[in-house]
């Protein structure tokens, strides 16, 4: 008698495995955030702008980039095949991670922002030699959160797509990537054409339109990254 509901069982198992992997990753993120904010408070007597939100964004992009380099590697993918799983589920779980992790990390940075604000208020009451100035309204916060979120998701999905191809076709991707970078450096027309394309897509647009365009780039990246993972063998 063969097992049924295999896809759901496999998905639960795989997501549990990624939950275990990212538990320590999240701990590192919180540790870095706490360290950055505490050290800033100790070093500077002022807070002109939110350390938590800025540090959260940079930290989130940096750590997710590292996570993507790791989870797309052959060694890491092979470990996932120690239990029943197919390539669609692997890709789906990666997409879930790319969509969920930035949200959790940004929400954490918002919690740090609240703590930072509380600390600044407390310092203001107890010390006359301190000032802080950050003005965040509800709408600017929501817009900033949404655009930051989709920008991180977009960058992470592009990194995911790149490394999904790179680990499977190192030579081809290196040659294409190297040619692209050299063309950007040495071919003025190419560089200008590429810059104007980027500017045309992302510059001077409303936050809503920017969100949609970044979401479209994200979807394309997911679709392109799916191809090499779908075809890969577990050696």
């Amino acid at each position: 008698m063969l097992s049924q509901n295999s896809r759901i069982r496999a998905m639960k198992s795989l997501l549990y495995s990624y939950y275990l992997d990212f538990r320590s990753f999240y701990g590192i993120y919180v540790g870095i955030m706490a360290g950055l904010i505490i050290s800033k408070f100790l070093i500077t007597p002022s807070a002109s702008g939110s350390s938590a939100l800025n540090a959260g964004l940079v930290n989130c992009i940096f750590l997710l980039f590292i996570a993507i380099i790791i989870i797309t590697s052959n060694t890491e993918l092979l470990k996932k095949f120690s239990f029943p799983v197919d390539r669609d589920l692997i890709v789906l779980s990666h997409i879930i991670c790319i969509l969920v992790l930035p949200a959790i990390m940004l929400l954490t940075s918002c919690v740090f922002f609240l703590l930072e604000t509380a600390a600044a208020e407390l310092t203001l009451v107890t010390s006359g030699n301190f000032f802080y100035s950050w003005i965040i309204t509800k709408s600017s916060f929501l817009t900033g959160f949404a655009v930051s979120y989709i920008a991180i998701v977009c960058l992470t999905s592009m990194a995911w797509m790149f490394f999904a191809w790179f680990y499977r076709h190192k030579i081809i991707v290196s040659v294409i990537g190297g040619t692209f970078i050299l063309a950007l450096i040495y071919l003025d027309d190419f560089r200008e054409g590429f810059s104007s394309l980027v500017v045309q897509i992302f510059h001077n647009v409303t936050p809503g339109l920017l969100f949609l365009r970044l979401a479209a780039v994200t979807l394309v990246s997911f679709a392109l990254g799916y191809i090499p993972i779908k075809r890969m063998e577990v050696k």
Partner: protein, 297 residues
């Protein structure tokens, strides 16, 4: 029902043929020994059946479907492979994952067995010795109760006592929850008692697929005077020969009629059955002579 059907299976890695034209049918609920030298293609065959590798040519069917990237098939297949577990994962987490992955996995029994083998369930994989890793993988593989359970070198790193206990556990599991086992191993003599069929492969090619009884009676050792035995050459398939002065030992495929065996016995030739291990070793012996020939040169 056939659990595994292979038709003209070829698997290439670059220019190297790891599996060459293998055709094989395996029935459900039997223990199959997959025998071959190092590099014969055993692991490649198991990984192809486990859906890790895509065949270059030919057809692979497991439970009637192609296993590559097929979760319906893979949920019913387990390949024991301790090198694939995340070294940073704790045994407890891996047991939880196994319980989520396999519908028949008995978590309580798995923990009892690990406790019995003195393997700490809270330890991480990287902290275990080779033997402990093997035991842990065996427990996961056996207790998953997958309809197709494949064990790749299951006794590697185990001491004699643990090897014996593994065999008892395997047979107990097999009798309680019948399923198809494919066991690849070098320790043929230890596994001989439990194997029902033997698949012998050499250099990626299948040499034979036979019932264990047929392998046990496949060949004979004939020990006698050189002059008596030399007359057999050309008439019978000799798979082993060794000369010690005027005495010779021949390993021959057992197609000798009873009257010829009686005649040889009357000429002072000692006849004994060739064990399964020796059959497998002699049939896959390279043509370049033995290791002692290297020293002699």
């Amino acid at each position: 029902m056939n659990v595994v059907i292979l038709q003209d299976l070829v698997k290439r890695f670059g220019n190297k043929k790891a599996l060459d034209d293998i055709s094989l049918d395996l029935q459900e609920n039997c223990i199959v020994g997959l025998i071959g030298r190092n590099g014969a293609g055993k692991t490649t065959l198991l990984r192809t059946l486990a859906g890790y590798l895509r065949p270059t040519e030919g057809k692979v069917l497991v439970f009637g479907e192609n296993p590559f990237d097929n979760i319906r098939v893979l949920s019913n297949v387990i390949l024991m492979d301790d090198e694939r577990y995340n070294p940073s994962a704790s045994l407890w987490d891996l047991i939880d994952r196994a319980a989520l992955s396999y519908s028949r996995f008995d978590k309580e029994l798995a923990i009892k067995l690990l406790n019995y083998f003195n393997i700490p369930v809270k330890a991480k994989i990287k902290k275990l010795s080779k033997g402990m890793k093997t035991l842990f993988s065996l427990v996961i593989a056996l207790i998953s109760r997958s309809p197709l359970t494949m064990l790749d070198e299951p006794t590697l790193g185990l001491d004699a006592a643990h090897r014996k206990e593994f065999l008892s556990l395997l047979l107990k599991e097999y009798s309680s929850y019948p399923r198809t086992f494919i066991v690849s191993s070098h320790l043929i003599s230890e596994l001989e008692g439990m194997m029902e069929q033997v698949v012998l492969i050499d250099n990626g090619r299948m040499v034979f697929h036979k019932a264990i009884e047929d392998v046990q009676s496949y060949a004979l050792y004939l020990t006698g005077h050189k002059k008596v035995l030399e007359e057999l050459e050309g008439r019978h398939n000799i798979i082993y020969r060794e000369q010690m002065g005027e005495m010779m030992v021949f390993g021959v495929v057992n197609d000798l009629p009873d009257e010829e065996l009686r005649r040889l016995e009357s000429l002072g030739v000692e006849i004994s059955a060739m064990g399964v291990q020796d059959v497998c070793v002699n049939l896959t012996r390279p043509d370049k002579g033995g290791v002692l020939d290297v020293i002699a040169k």
